[in-house]
C-alpha cells in the first residue's frame, strides 16, 4: 500500500506545474548568485576582487545553506499541501475509509513530498555548480569542482534541516488543515534561529547557540569562526562533536514530532480546532412548519457613486481586517514578535557588556530587518488570503454578482492590509515602551515612535502591500504568489550584483533615514519621502492592474483574463493609470536627472575605472617635490539653518627641499573653489574630474623661500533631494580634509588581482619601516610637518562653534556668533570644526581647563568622561611626557556622523552613541565603562599621535592606536581592577580573531601592519598588555618614556615601529626577547590547553594537584597559512598512541603562566589565586605537580588568556 500511495504522489508532483516553477526559479537564483559571486558581472559592475575562493567547501556551504532559506517557504506548499490536498478536494472523506494503515498513508505522503523538496534543493545545488562555471567567471577566485563539498553540505546540513522543518510543517498542516499555519511555523522557526545567532554574539554563549540553532549553522561556526583566509580557501569542513550533537538533537526532535503526528493522527474528518470559549450544548429542533409571509421590502436608497464605493471599501475592509486579526497565524506572529523584540532589547545593543539607556531611537532600531521581514511576510500571506478568500470559501459567486466595483474590492483588501500593518507596527511601540518602563526609563518620546513608525516606516510596507495584491491577483495559488513575492523582495537587493545600482530601478528602494537626538532626522526625510511617493505611484499603478486582472466570476484562462483586462482598461481607469504613469515618470525622471545629470553619479564600475585613471594619470606625481605647509589660517562660516558653509583660508608654504620648485600641485575636492598664489603663475593643467590642478610658477621657489596660497570654497546649493554640504542644523563636524592639499595622494585600488586586470603594478600599500627613504612624511599628512594654526569660525547665534586652539574672542553680530581660535604652538596639519547648541560642563586638572560640550539631555556620563580625561592626563604625563596644551575639550556630535571619537589637538569630537548614553553598572557584574575607556584612549592620542607621530610607512599606527589603547587598558586596570580587564581582553581577542578572517589583502605582524583596525586596536591592546605583564609596567613605560623623549615633535625623518621596538628590546631580558618576535614581528598563535588535572588529598591534609597540559604555537603567514617552524626544519612534535596525527609546534623556550585557583570563605565563593607563575616550557606536553594547604578548585594554563589562542575555553579546567 505504501508504494502505491508513494508512487501516486510522485506522479502527481511531477505533473504539477508549480513544482517546475519552483525548481526553475530556484535554479535561476542560485545560478545567478553563484555567477555573481564568481565575478560574471565584472564587466558591468565593480570587480569581485578578493583573496577568498568562492567555491571552496566553506564558500559552498555558505551560499548553499543560505539559499535553502528560500526552500523553507516551499515546505508548506509542498509537504503541507500533500496532506491538505486530500482534505481540500474532500477526497479525505472517501480516502480515509480505504483500507490502508495510517502509517502507510502518512509515511507515503511525507516521504514523497520530502523527496520532492530534496530534488528541488538538488536542482539548486546544480544551479550553483553551473553558476560557478559560467564563462566570464573570475578564474582567480574559483577552484576546481569539488563534489564532496556539495555533498557534505547537502547531507550534513540541508537534508536534516529539511527533514526537521518538513516534519514540523507536516505535523502542523495535518492537524490544522491550514497551509498558512504551516507557513507561520516556518517563520517561528526563523525566530528561533534569529535568537540563536543573537546569543552567538557573546563568546561564552557560542557553544549553546551552536546546539540550539536548528539550521546547524552556529554549530559549524563554532569550529570555523576563526578560520583565516587560507583555511577558508583550503580546508574541508570539520565534523566536530558539537555539529553531531546539534544534528542529533534536531533530527530527534523531528522524529519525535513525526511520531507524535503518527500517534495523534486518525482518519477523522475534522481538523483539530482550539477554542477558548466553552460551548454550551443544547438540543436543536426547528420550526418545520412556516406560514406564508408577505414580502414588503423597505424602500432603501441604492447608491453606486464613487463616494459611496469608497465608504463601502472602508466598511468591507473592516470585515477582512477582522478576519486577519482573529486568525491565529496573525496572533501567533504578533505575540512572538513582541517577545522577539523584548528579547532583542535585553540581549542586544551592548558594548563590552555595557548596555545603553533605552532611548527611543534605540528602541526603534530593535525590530531591525527581522521584524520588517515578518511584516512583509504577513502582508504577502494575507494579500493572498484576502484576494483568494472568497474563492476559498466558495462565496465568490454571491459576491461577484453584486454591483460592487472591482476597484472597490481591491481597495478594501488594500485597506485591510494597511490596517494589519498598523497593528504590527504598534507592537514596536508597545514593546519599546514596556522595555523602557522595565528599565525605569520614563522619557517616552511617543511622538517620535509614531512619527517614525507611521510617518516614515508604514509607507514602506504599504508599497509592498500594493505589489503583493498585484502578484496575488495574477497568481491563482496564494502560496506560489507568496513565494514569488519573497523572491522579489529579497532578490531586489541583489540586482546591483548585475550592475543595476540606482535606487529608482529597484522597487520600493529609497535612501535611508537615521535619527539622532542631536540633529533629528537631519534632512534625510524629504529624499526618503520623495522616493516613497515615487514608489507609491508605481504601486498605485499595480493596484489598477490588480483591478484589471481581478477575477470576477468563474476562473478564466490566462488568455481570457488578458482579454477581459483589455476590455476593462478604459475611461477613468485608463486615464488614472496614465495619469499615475506620467507622475511616476515625472518624479523618476527628475530624480534621475538630479542624480545623473545635475550631479555626477558613478556606478561602481565607473568608480573603479575612475580610480584606475586617477592612478594612471597622476601617480607619477607621487614623489614630486612640493613646498610644505607651515602656517594655516582659516575662516569657516557655518549656516546651520540653511546647512551651508563658506570657507576661506591661507596656507604659507616653504620650500624645505634642496631644489628649486616651479610646479605646485593642488589636490582639492569638487566644492566650488578659488585658488590664488602670491606670486605670478600659470594654471597649466586644470582637471575638473579629478580636481587636480597644476600651477607653474613664473619664478621658481628657491630652497627656504615661501609662497602663500589663498583659497575660498563653499558648497553648492542644497536641494530637497540632495545635501551638498556636511553642515548639520545641530552638531556639525567637519574636518580639515575639506581643504585643499598639495601633491598626489591615494589610490584606493588595493586588490592585486583587480589591479592586474587594469594593467596596474602590484600594490604594496606602504613601504616597510626599514625603508629609510620613506620617512619624510607623517602618516597624517603628506604636505606638512608641524604647522601654526589659527581659525575663525562663525555660526548662528544659538550655537557654539569650536576649532582647535585657544579662544581669542567671541562676538555676536547680526544674529551670528563669531569665534576666533589660535594655537600657541605648532600642531599636525589636522583639525576640525564643530558647531551645535551645546551645554558645557567645565572642570580643571592641574592648570588644564577641561570642557565637555554636550547635548542637553545627555548628562548621564559626563562625570565619568571628566574622570577619564583626568585619569588619562595623569597617566600619560606621569609616565611619558608633559601635556602640551592648557585645555582639553570633548564635543558631542550626532550618531548620524558615525559612532567613533577622534582626537584633534586638544579637541575631541565624540559621537553621542559611544558613551554619552551608556548605562554603566558599577561593580563586578557590570560591563566595561567604555565611555571612560574611550575618553582615556582619545586623550592618550594627544601624546600618541600629537606628540609622537610615525612616518608614513607600515606599522605607524602601532605608535598611535595601539599605544592609546594600551594606556586606556592600563588606566582602566588601575581604576577598576584586574577582573574587569578580562572582559575587555576576551572581547579584544575575539574581535581580533573574528576580523582577521575577513581580511581581503594580507595580515601583517603588528609592527608592519597596513593600518587594519583589528591589528592596531585589538591585537595591539592584547600585545602591549601582555608585554607589560611579561616585562613589567614600569619597565615598559620607562622604555616608552625614553622613546617619547627622543621623538616627540620631531622633524623628518619620522620615527617608525622599529625604532620603538629598539627601546623595548633594550629593557627586555634575553630570556624574553622571543616575546618581541612573537608579538611584534610575526603572527604567532598559541594552542594551549589543559589535558588532564587530578586532585588528591594527602595524608597530611594537604592537597596535591597533578596537571598535564599542552603548549604549542604556530605562525601564520599573511594569508593565514600555518607554519610550525621559521626555517622549515626545527619544528617539534608530540604524539601519543591515541593520537592519529602528531601535534607540532615552533620550538619552545617560552614562559607560560600556570595558575591554580581556589575559593575564599565568603558566601559568593570568590576566586582566589593559589598559584600563578610563568614557567619555562620547552616541550609540547608537560606535567607538573603542586601541593597546597587549601583545596584547589580550578587549574589553568595561561588562565587569564593573555596570549593569543584560538580556543580560549580549554585553558582552564575545574577540578
Amino acid at each position: 500500500m505504501f508504494s502505491t500511495i508513494f508512487k501516486h504522489e510522485l506522479k502527481y508532483w511531477f505533473k504539477q506545474p508549480t513544482f517546475y516553477v519552483f525548481a526553475a526559479i530556484l535554479f535561476a537564483i542560485s545560478c545567478f548568485m553563484a555567477a555573481a559571486t564568481a565575478g560574471v558581472f565584472d564587466f558591468i559592475t565593480a570587480s569581485t576582487g578578493s583573496s577568498n575562493i568562492v567555491n571552496s567547501p566553506f564558500g559552498i556551504n555558505g551560499i548553499f545553506s543560505g539559499m535553502t532559506i528560500f526552500t523553507l517557504f516551499l515546505l508548506p506548499s509542498i509537504i503541507g499541501v500533500s496532506v491538505y490536498r486530500d482534505y481540500k478536494s474532500e477526497m479525505h472523506t472517501i480516502l480515509y475509509s480505504y483500507p490502508f494503515t495510517k502509517g502507510n498513508y502518512l509515511m507515503a505522503k511525507f516521504l514523497s513530498s520530502f523527496l520532492m523538496i530534496l530534488i528541488i534543493v538538488a536542482v539548486m545545488g546544480l544551479g550553483l555548480i553551473i553558476g560557478f562555471r559560467l564563462p566570464g567567471t573570475n578564474s582567480e577566485i574559483i577552484t576546481g569542482f569539488n563534489g564532496l563539498a556539495y555533498l557534505q553540505t547537502y547531507v550534513v546540513y540541508i537534508i536534516p534541516n529539511m527533514f526537521l522543518f518538513g516534519a514540523i510543517v507536516f505535523g502542523v498542516v495535518t492537524f490544522t488543515r491550514n497551509i498558512s499555519a504551516g507557513f507561520i511555523t516556518v517563520v517561528l522557526l526563523l525566530f528561533i534561529q534569529g535568537l540563536a545567532s543573537g546569543l552567538a554574539g557573546e563568546v561564552e554563549n557560542r557553544f549553546i547557540a551552536g546546539l540550539l540553532d536548528p539550521f546547524g549553522g552556529d554549530a559549524l561556526n563554532y569550529y570555523t569562526q576563526y578560520w583565516t583566509v587560507a583555511e577558508k580557501n583550503e580546508n574541508i569542513l570539520p565534523i566536530g562533536s558539537l555539529i553531531l550533537y546539534n544534528r542529533l538533537l534536531w533530527t530527534s526532535i523531528a522524529i519525535a514530532i513525526f511520531a507524535l503526528v503518527y500517534k495523534k493522527f486518525s482518519f477523522s474528518q475534522n481538523a483539530v480546532t482550539f477554542s477558548f470559549r466553552k460551548v454550551k450544548s443544547e438540543r436543536l429542533t426547528k420550526h418545520n412548519f412556516g406560514g406564508i409571509t408577505r414580502i414588503n421590502l423597505p424602500k432603501v436608497g441604492l447608491d453606486y457613486s464613487v463616494k459611496e464605493q469608497l465608504k463601502a471599501a472602508w466598511r468591507m475592509s473592516q470585515v477582512d481586517f477582522k478576519y486577519i486579526v482573529r486568525s491565529w497565524p496573525f496572533i501567533s506572529i504578533l505575540i512572538v514578535g513582541l517577545i522577539f523584540i523584548l528579547l532583542m532589547a535585553i540581549t542586544s545593543g551592548k558594548m563590552f557588556g555595557t548596555s545603553t539607556y533605552p532611548v527611543t531611537w534605540k528602541m526603534l532600531l530593535l525590530p531591525g530587518g527581522g521584524f520588517s521581514l515578518f511584516i512583509n511576510l504577513l502582508t504577502f500571506l494575507y494579500a493572498g488570503m484576502l484576494v483568494h478568500r472568497s474563492r476559498i470559501f466558495n462565496i465568490n459567486q454571491l459576491i461577484d454578482t453584486t454591483p460592487i466595483k472591482n476597484w472597490t474590492l481591491v481597495l478594501s483588501k488594500f485597506i485591510a492590509l494597511i490596517k494589519m500593518q498598523v497593528v504590527m507596527l504598534l507592537v514596536i511601540v508597545i514593546a519599546g515602551v514596556l522595555f523602557q518602563v522595565y528599565k525605569g526609563f520614563y522619557n517616552f518620546e511617543l511622538g517620535l515612535y509614531f512619527y517614525e513608525l507611521y510617518g516614515l516606516k508604514l509607507v514602506h510596507f504599504v508599497i509592498w502591500a500594493m505589489m503583493a495584491l498585484f502578484i496575488q491577483s495574477l497568481v491563482k495559488n496564494p502560496y506560489v504568489g507568496l513565494f514569488i513575492l519573497l523572491v522579489i523582495s529579497i532578490g531586489i537587493q541583489f540586482v546591483s550584483f548585475a550592475g543595476i545600482e540606482q535606487t529608482i530601478f529597484k522597487y520600493n528602494d529609497a535612501p535611508g533615514y537615521r535619527y539622532s537626538d542631536m540633529n533629528g532626522y537631519g534632512g534625510s526625510v524629504p529624499p526618503y519621502l520623495v522616493y516613497k511617493l515615487y514608489w507609491l505611484l508605481s504601486g498605485a499603478m499595480l493596484l489598477i492592474l490588480a483591478g484589471l486582472f481581478w477575477i470576477r466570476g468563474l476562473p478564466h484562462s490566462f488568455k481570457e483574463r488578458f482579454a477581459i483586462a483589455g476590455t476593462r482598461f478604459k475611461g477613468i481607469t485608463m486615464l488614472s493609470f496614465f495619469g499615475l504613469m506620467v507622475a511616476f515618470f515625472a518624479i523618476g525622471g527628475s530624480i534621475y536627472y538630479e542624480n545623473n545629470v545635475t550631479n555626477e553619479r558613478k556606478s561602481s564600475k565607473e568608480r573603479e575605472l575612475s580610480e584606475v585613471t586617477w592612478e594612471k594619470k597622476y601617480k607619477k606625481y607621487e614623489h614630486f617635490l612640493q613646498p610644505r605647509i607651515v602656517d594655516v589660517n582659516v575662516t569657516m562660516d557655518l549656516f546651520p539653518k540653511e546647512r551651508n558653509f563658506e570657507a576661506s583660508g591661507t596656507y604659507i608654504m616653504v620650500n624645505k627641499t634642496a631644489q628649486a620648485i616651479d610646479t605646485i600641485l593642488v589636490n582639492h575636492n569638487n566644492y566650488p573653489s578659488t585658488f590664488e598664489f602670491d606670486r605670478e603663475n600659470m594654471l597649466v593643467s586644470e582637471d575638473t574630474v579629478y580636481n587636480f590642478d597644476i600651477y607653474k610658477l613664473d619664478k621658481k621657489l628657491i630652497p627656504g623661500d615661501s609662497i602663500t596660497l589663498s583659497f575660498t570654497l563653499k558648497n553648492k546649493k542644497n536641494t530637497l533631494m540632495r545635501k551638498h554640504s556636511p553642515v548639520r542644523s545641530n552638531g556639525t563636524f567637519i574636518n580639515s580634509n575639506i581643504f585643499p592639499s598639495l601633491g598626489y595622494s591615494g589610490g584606493g585600488l588595493t586588490d592585486d588581482k583587480v589591479r592586474e586586470k587594469y594593467g596596474l603594478s602590484k600594490n604594496d600599500l606602504k613601504p616597510l619601516p626599514s625603508d629609510s627613504t620613506a620617512l619624510g612624511n607623517t602618516y597624517i599628512a603628506k604636505d606638512a610637518d608641524w604647522v601654526n594654526f589659527e581659525a575663525r569660525v562663525s555660526t548662528s547665534e544659538d550655537q557654539i562653534a569650536i576649532a582647535p586652539g585657544y579662544l581669542q574672542s567671541e562676538v555676536v553680530k547680526n544674529g551670528r556668533r563669531y569665534f576666533h581660535y589660535k594655537m600657541d604652538h605648532k600642531i599636525l596639519n589636522f583639525y576640525a570644526f564643530n558647531s551645535g547648541r551645546y551645554e558645557v560642563k567645565r572642570d580643571t586638572w592641574k592648570d588644564v581647563k577641561l570642557e565637555i560640550y554636550y547635548h542637553k539631555g545627555h548628562e548621564y556620563n559626563l562625570e565619568r568622561m571628566m574622570d577619564g580625561m583626568k585619569a588619562s592626563l595623569a597617566y600619560n604625563s606621569e609616565n611619558f611626557s608633559p601635556y602640551q596644551h592648557k585645555q582639553a575639550r570633548i564635543i558631542e556630535f550626532p550618531r548620524t556622523g558615525g559612532s567613533f571619537a577622534q582626537s584633534f589637538p586638544n579637541t575631541i569630537p565624540f559621537s553621542e552613541e559611544v558613551g554619552f548614553i551608556a548605562d554603566i553598572e558599577d561593580g563586578e557584574e557590570g560591563g566595561v565603562d567604555y565611555g571612560f575607556a574611550i575618553t582615556v584612549h582619545e586623550l592618550a592620542h594627544q601624546w600618541w599621535a600629537h606628540q609622537v607621530i610615525g612616518a608614513d610607512v607600515r606599522g605607524a599606527t602601532m605608535m598611535s592606536e595601539s599605544l592609546s589603547e594600551y594606556v586606556s587598558l592600563k588606566v582602566l586596570e588601575h581604576e577598576h581592577g584586574k577582573s574587569k580587564m578580562r572582559k575587555f581582553l576576551k572581547k579584544a581577542l575575539d574581535g581580533y580573531l573574528m576580523s582577521r578572517t575577513m581580511e581581503r589583502k594580507r595580515e601583517s605582524a603588528l609592527a608592519f601592519n597596513d593600518g587594519q583596525g583589528y591589528i592596531h586596536y585589538q591585537k595591539g591592546s592584547l600585545v602591549f598588555y601582555a608585554l607589560s605583564d611579561y616585562i613589567g609596567e614600569d619597565k615598559l613605560n620607562g622604555a616608552l618614556k625614553k622613546y617619547v623623549e627622543k621623538v616627540k615633535f620631531q622633524k623628518p625623518p619620522y620615527t617608525t615601529s622599529l625604532e620603538m621596538m629598539d627601546y623595548i628590546r633594550e629593557v627586555t631580558p634575553d630570556s624574553l626577547q622571543y616575546v618581541i618576535k612573537d608579538m611584534f614581528t610575526s603572527i604567532t598563535l598559541y594552542k594551549n590547553r589543559i589535558v588532564d588535572a587530578e586532585l588528591t588529598e594527602l595524608d597530611n591534609g594537604k592537597w596535591q594537584v597533578d596537571i598535564e597540559f599542552n603548549v604549542s604555537k604556530y605562525r601564520n603567514n599573511e594569508k593565514g597559512r600555518r607554519f610550525y617552524s621559521d626555517n622549515k626544519q626545527d619544528s617539534i612534535s608530540y604524539k601519543t598512541e591515541k593520537m592519529r596525527k602528531p601535534m607540532y609546534s615552533v620550538p619552545l623556550r617560552d614562559y607560560i603562566e600556570i595558575g591554580v585557583f581556589g575559593e575564599d570563605d565568603s558566601d559568593d565563593k570568590k576566586e582566589v589565586e593559589l598559584y600563578l607563575k610563568k614557567l619555562k616550557i620547552t616541550e609540547i606536553n608537560n606535567k607538573i605537580t603542586l601541593i597546597f594547604d587549601q583545596k584547589p578548585t580550578e587549574v589553568g594554563v595561561d588562565p587569564y588568556n593573555k596570549l593569543i589562542d584560538t580556543d580560549s575555553n580549554d585553558n582552564r579546567r575545574k577540578l
Partner: protein
C-alpha cells in the same frame, strides 16, 4: 420585463459544448428550467448572472445588454448559485450587512432595516447572531434567499435550490420564492419536475445545451392528454416492451412487478390503461425525442 437570449453558445476547454446556439425569451413570473444533470442549465444561468462569458450570442434584459453592461444587470440581479459557502465566524446579520454594502445600500439605518426584514422573511431572525457557517442546509439556502433580496432584484436566478432540502424546508423555500417572484422575472432551474409544477407559470426543458421545449406547465400536460398509457408488466418482459414502445418511465411495484408508462397517440394494446398526463411525462418525452437515434 423581458429577458431575451439569442444564439448563445459556449464550448468548454475540454470540448463539451454546454450551450448550443440557445434561444430563449422569458417574461415576468416564475420560469422553470428543467433538465437533467449536465444539461447546461448552470452554464446558462451563470452566463445570465454575468459570471461567465459565452463564445457567441447576446443576452438582453429590460434593455440592458447583459454581456456588455454587466454592472447594470448586477444592480437588479439576485443570484443564488447551486452551491455556495460563507465566511466563517460571521453571523447572518454581519454577513447580510456585508452583502448589503456590496449591493450598494449606503445608509447604515437602511441596511439595518433591510437586514431585519429579509431575516424575518426567511425566518432566520431568531438565529441572526449565529454563525452562518454552522447553519443546516435549509437554513443556509434561506440565507441565500435573504442575501438575494437585499437589492430588491428585478431578475432572480436560482440554480437548483431545492436539492437536498427536507420536505418542510423545500416547501418553505418555494413559498418564499413564490412571494418574491410576483413582480419580477425568476429563473429557476431544477431537475425535480414537482418544483416546476407547483411553482412556475412557464417552463423550458433543456438538454445538451439546447431548449427542447418551451411551454407552460398546464399546456404541457394538456398537449399530451390521451397519449399516456400505463401497464403492469413482469420484470423479464421489460426489454420487449421497451423495444416495442416509447417507454417514458418504469417503476417497481412492491410485488417486484413494474409499472410502465409509455407515450403513444393511441391505445397501444388492451394491457394498457389510459393515464393522467404528468409533467414528468412531458419532460421524458422531450428528452426522449432529443436522444440520438441509435443505429
Amino acid at each position: 420585463m423581458q429577458l431575451t437570449i439569442r444564439n448563445l453558445s459556449k464550448t468548454y476547454k475540454n470540448g463539451v459544448r454546454a450551450l448550443d446556439n440557445l434561444n430563449l425569451e422569458i417574461g415576468t413570473g416564475m420560469f422553470g428550467l428543467l433538465g437533467p444533470n449536465g444539461a447546461g442549465k448552470s452554464t446558462l444561468m451563470r452566463t445570465i448572472a454575468t459570471l461567465q462569458s459565452p463564445d457567441t450570442g447576446t443576452i438582453t434584459f429590460n434593455g440592458i445588454d447583459v454581456l456588455e453592461d454587466q454592472m447594470s444587470l448586477r444592480k437588479i440581479l439576485g443570484y443564488l448559485p447551486q452551491s455556495f459557502g460563507v465566511y466563517p465566524k460571521m453571523s447572518a446579520e454581519e454577513l447580510l450587512d456585508y452583502f448589503a454594502t456590496l449591493k450598494g445600500v449606503s445608509l447604515k439605518s437602511d441596511r439595518e432595516k433591510l437586514v431585519k426584514e429579509v431575516l424575518e422573511i426567511t425566518n432566520l431572525y431568531e438565529v441572526r447572531k449565529k454563525h452562518v457557517a454552522g447553519y443546516s442546509g435549509g437554513m443556509k439556502q434561506r440565507f441565500g434567499i435573504a442575501q438575494l433580496l437585499l437589492n430588491s432584484p428585478k431578475l432572480i436566478i436560482v440554480d437548483e435550490p431545492t436539492a437536498g432540502l427536507d420536505p418542510a424546508e423545500r416547501h418553505r423555500f418555494l413559498n418564499v420564492l413564490r412571494e418574491v417572484g410576483t413582480n419580477c422575472t425568476v429563473i429557476f432551474s431544477t431537475h425535480i419536475v414537482e418544483d416546476v409544477k407547483e411553482l412556475c407559470n412557464e417552463m423550458a426543458i433543456v438538454n445538451g445545451g439546447r431548449i427542447l421545449k418551451q411551454i407552460t406547465p398546464i399546456e404541457a400536460t394538456k398537449e399530451i392528454e390521451g397519449q399516456i398509457w400505463s401497464c403492469r408488466v413482469e420484470r423479464d418482459d421489460l426489454d420487449a416492451i421497451e423495444a416495442k414502445y416509447k417507454v417514458l418511465s418504469s417503476s417497481y411495484n412492491q410485488d417486484n412487478s413494474l409499472t410502465v408508462r409509455i407515450h403513444a397517440p393511441e391505445k397501444p394494446s388492451d394491457d394498457f390503461t389510459s393515464a393522467d398526463p404528468q409533467l414528468d411525462d412531458v419532460y421524458f418525452i422531450a428528452l426522449k425525442e432529443d436522444e440520438p437515434i441509435e443505429a
